[in-house]
Amino acid sequence: MDATDLTPLVERCRAGDAAAWEVFVRQLQGRLFALAYSYAGDREDARDLAQEIFVRLYEARHQWPTGDEFLPWLFRVARNRSVDYLRRRSVRRPAATADETEMAELPDPGPGAEARAIESDRRSLLHAALRGLSAISREIVVLRDVHGLPVQQVASILGVPLGTVKSRASRARVELAERVMALSRGRSEA
């Protein structure tokens, strides 16, 4: 997704266009839900969290930045909401256990079901490996390698120095690859 693609839509949402808001939700829900899922680790919690993020965005729609500043701002808002949500959830109940097979349980009728099941299995493996990383490493990998944000923006969103992001990113990638290999070996042996 490019910030320039979103600019007209963002402008219309800022002006209070209800139809533009609906398009905005439909266009970004997959991405924000994925981001929320990487924090919540649970589909239902991720749905609640993604909805909270959208409500927050809607409330602040008159203050949305435009142009290149919009996407980093969006991720910062989503990240802050997610951190608040996790804090509240940790008070309310213990952190959800990782449900590795959750992503593979989606109903999948029709042709190509086997290929999609394999892909879904692979995704659940990646999610499980991501959840094994430390919080900061996971955030860096998610923002940098999953959502493709530049290193400077990742550092700005997380509020850490640029050098920290770079060094942590390389270590976290290797750790993630090792975890993925270990998990896939464990599954094939099981």
């Binding site: 209800a18 808001w21 609906e22 939700v25 439909r26 829900q29 997959g30 991405r31 839900f33 994925a34 899922y37 990487s38 589909r43 991720a46 749905r47 993604a50 909805q51 959208f54 409500v55 809607y58 409330e59 729609r61 008159h62 989606l106 892909e119 692979r122 995704r123 990646l126 999610h127 490996a129 991501l130 990998v141 998610v142 390698d145 999953v146 959502h147 493709g148 990638r173 290797v174 993630l176 690859a177 090792e178 993925v180 290999m181």
Partner: protein
Amino acid sequence: MSASICDQVRAAALDPGTVSADWARRPEIAAHLRCCPSCQDWLDAFAAGERVWEAVLAAAFTERVVARTSGLAAVLGELPSLAEMDPGPGFTERVLLATSMKPAPQGWRARVADAWLALVRRPRFAWEAAYVATVCLVLVFGNPVGAIEWSAVNIGTVARERLAPPVQEFRADLESWRARLSAASAPPPSTSAARQVAAASPAVRIWEAALDWLRLTSSSVIDAIARAWDALAAWLGGPEGEPAPRSTEPPAGPARSHQ
């Protein structure tokens, strides 16, 4: 063969310095191994264990190398597929419903009202408010029950002691203001001054009239404040010359004995 020689052979096998020196071919070790089946078995098991360990280390090393090369590339190639996920049916409608029922706050008053309502509507608000009130009561009065009664009795005394000096000062200030105002409004305008005012421009006349009105109004307001302040001072001060009671202690119980 004595046990001490067996121990020496096994210790030599465990010593990394001797293993690489082809120690098993040394004549005395070889002779011992030929005649001691227990040491021979031990050595075979030890060698098998070494091989297993080397294999484990080699596999881990290979895995680490793969993880840092082709495995890493594969994982990095797959990560962008996680950027989008289907939130499931009904999610869009849920979000639109939640946002259509939430108009953006219009100003700070609406935001404060929203925040207050959100605070009040929390299920434990009454308990929390009662708790805070109790804590405040205890912090201010110590023992709430006895101290409230004591405070009600003695608050006049304390107020008299604290407020008497400022009351006197303020009264003196009021007197001086009154004197100044009466001095300012006392001299009637002379005929030359009246002529000047009449000859002046309308703006100057309006300005003069406004000043006169302000003088009169402020004088009456200050008089009212002075009367109220005098009444307060009379109530607080009591009969002049009477010293205020000094005791600010809680009501005494039975008289204390020195013994």
